[in-house]
């Protein structure tokens, strides 16, 4: 194993949507040196690999950023940070224009105005959105991109970030990177729960299966305050292909119907969690399967849909073609996915202030790892990348490197070497991953229990996840890719523990499906119109209930 030590002004961990935009912002506003660590390759990594066919967060004419805040707040039944949502919403349009300048195709009318879909969406051709962003980043001066370097831990001393440690899966190298400031932009966590199709197509999931919650896990381990892990995200998707349903629901107005042909969505409500819950319930009460009613749409709509899906989720188009029937000839069956933790859709993640500063000095967060601001989508992640970048630039002009002690480097190297040493274990990383997904599925509200759970089950889940964490100490990796898989598993296990603790702490049911506690089936505004936060201290997860930050006020850290 080779070792390498690098030094920079700002380290960006994760070259996805938020990370790339942070790099662009730093370069436009300073001459600071930047290193981006990306576990794959920035050209197609992260959520946007296959493309996206709409920008879902834009302030359309006649609307204000506050309207967007109100929408997201309503959808999350109050548990959001309005200050974060507002600072994000104020930048949605400028980042959109920047994307267009970089080359993104956005639909316009004859007067050159963007064509909107509903109140918040723009129509685009987003197949190449990630290559567009990556190309702009690759051209930046002062920016070094380390592709295939997977960061495994922060270096933190006295609650001040010093940098991070990583493994190069192509060059078998252990990296120590010192930085004055760090931006964490690694994305959310998929693969915690048993997926819809656990066999051959186990990775045919909604969220990138390669997003393993690394950023959350590193923050938890470093003692950062984290928020709202109990607000899990469950997507309502086209069955099997797990392709998006928004294009059908909003694009061609397809309603959710049960097998009797009855429109059921109005019965349960239209928030994100209610749409999932309604589908679960219709199935349970014997009126499944459920569909999006596309029968009867026009041939032109058919053709457009086939193309739209090729631009973001090609397997759905292939499915239509293989079945020999277009959406106008058959309704599209829908199902809920396994739960994910993803701060771009719900409010899970780092507890940050409006500058996107975490509770660790010098560590900033943007995109799916940053909590408190759901419904970010692409443009919200860009906006948060921009804010985190500006804050990091400001921070590094006032703070120098805090050198990483050699003892800390040595202990990380010996951990890596331990995993690379052959030992007598019957268990493989894959086995433990499947065991973890089974535990979460059965005892922490997975698909198997219709997303429901009780406290006794959560206790079992916690016990078993701790056991699996123990077992993961004796895993063996034949090469650096397998080493990455071990770290990914351990990240997921760390996130699982926090999710379980948060689900247990919110003793109410505010969101059906997302956090449906059968011991407390009702909403309890008196006690739980609050944030459930946590901090990992001495091996235990300490829960902190915090009062909501009222609209019009900004929260500030008081260290």
């Amino acid at each position: 194993m080779k070792t390498e030590k690098l030094t920079t002004d700002i380290l960006i961990i994760g070259g996805g949507t938020a990370g790339c935009y942070a790099a662009l912002t730093i370069s436009e506003n300073s001459d600071k040196k930047v290193i981006i660590c990306e576990k794959a390759h920035i050209k197609r990594s992260g959520c946007l690999a296959a493309g996206v066919n709409a920008l879902n967060a834009y302030i359309t004419e006649g609307r204000t950023p506050q309207d967007y805040v109100d929408y997201a707040k309503h959808d999350a039944d109050g548990i959001v940070r309005e200050d974060l949502l507002l600072t994000m919403s104020e930048r949605l349009n400028s980042v959109t224009h920047r994307l267009e300048q970089l080359g993104l195709v956005i639909l316009k009318d004859e007067n050159g105005k963007y064509v909107t879909r509903g109140n918040r969406n723009l129509k685009i051709n987003g197949e190449n959105i990630k290559p567009i962003l990556a190309k702009a980043v690759e051209a930046l001066p002062n920016t070094t991109i380390l592709n295939r370097v997977n960061v495994i831990d922060f270096a933190v001393k006295d609650n001040r970030i010093q940098g991070a440690f990583g493994i190069g899966i192509d060059d078998d190298t252990f990296y120590t990177i010192e930085a004055k400031a760090v931006i964490i932009a690694t994305g959310g966590a998929a693969g915690l729960y048993k997926p819809n199709n656990p066999g051959f197509s186990r990775h045919k999931m909604w969220y990138p299966p390669f997003n393993t919650g690394a950023g959350y896990a590193m923050g938890i381990k470093a003692g950062a305050e984290m928020t709202t892990f109990e607000m899990r995200f469950i997507a309502l998707r086209c069955k099997d292909t797990i392709a998006p349903t928004g294009t059908l629901a909003q694009g061609v107005g397809a309603k959710q119907v049960n097998s009797l042909g009855e429109v059921y969505e109005t019965k349960y409500g239209l928030t994100t969690s209610e749409r999932v819950y309604g589908t679960v319930n219709e199935n349970q009460e014997g009126r499944g399967p459920c569909y999006l009613r596309t029968e009867g749409i026009t041939p032109e709509q058919d053709e457009s849909l086939l193309k739209a899906y090729l631009n973001m989720a090609p397997s759905q188009t292939i499915k239509w073609i293989e079945s020999g029937k277009n959406p106008s000839q058959q309704n599209v069956e829908i199902e809920g996915t396994e739960p994910y933790i993803v701060g771009g859709h719900t409010a899970s993640g780092y507890w940050v202030d409006t500058k996107r500063a975490t509770t660790i000095n010098g560590l900033f967060a943007g995109g799916d790892v940053a909590g408190g601001a759901p419904q970010k989508y692409v443009t919200g992640a860009l906006a948060e990348g921009e804010i985190a970048a500006l804050s990091a630039v400001e921070y590094v002009s006032e703070n120098d490197i805090s050198p990483i002690e050699s003892s800390n480097i040595d202990s990380h190297i010996s951990e890596v070497e331990n995993f690379l040493t052959k030992k007598d274990s019957h268990f493989t990383t894959e086995q433990l991953e499947e065991a973890m997904q089974s535990v979460m599925d059965s005892y922490a509200g997975g698909i198997k229990t219709n997303y429901r759970f009780n406290e006794k089950q959560l206790d079992i889940a916690d016990y078993k996840i701790k056991q699996l964490t123990e077992l993961s100490n004796s895993l063996y990796a034949e090469d650096f890719q397998e080493l990455m898989y071990i770290y990914e598993l351990r990240e997921r296990l760390t996130v699982c523990r926090s999710v379980i603790a948060h689900l247990k702490a919110r003793k109410e049911t505010r969101w059906h499906s997302f956090a449906e506690n059968l011991d407390y089936p009702n909403k309890d505004d008196k006690n739980f119109n609050k944030y459930v936060n946590s901090r990992f201290e001495n091996g235990e997860i300490k829960i902190i209930l915090r009062d909501l930050v009222p609209g019009g006020k900004s929260y500030e850290h008081s260290n």
Partner: protein, 104 residues
């Protein structure tokens, strides 16, 4: 779903390997690309769009309703063509102009 790489066609340029967000594609001793972890494919089609000689196809697994069609893309200027070869032998081609936005 997963991908299949045609070794006869592959010229070993390594572009698919570079771009895969899961680092699933490797190059074997003969310099040809292969997918080392087929079950871990996300189906993002990034590798397919990179391949200069159209050596990579993707297909739906039988567990999610796949019927055996093989899919690849070809790019000509602004036109990205999706070519779907059905097992019965007929081929469907869908052209997308990348300068044009999605309508829905």
């Amino acid at each position: 779903m997963s991908i299949a790489i045609n070794k006869q066609k592959c010229v070993g340029c390594g572009r698919c390997r570079n771009v895969c967000p899961g680092s699933l594609i490797k190059i074997d001793e003969s310099g040809k690309a292969y997918i080392k972890y087929p079950k871990d494919c996300w189906g993002c089609t990034s590798c397919i769009k990179e391949c200069p000689v159209h050596a990579i196809n993707f297909y739906l697994g039988a567990d999610i309703g796949g019927m055996g069609s093989m899919v690849h893309t070809e790019k000509n200027g602004d036109i990205l063509s999706w070519i779907i070869e059905k097992p019965q032998g007929d081929t469907i081609k869908i052209d997308i102009n990348q300068r044009e936005s999605n309508k829905y």
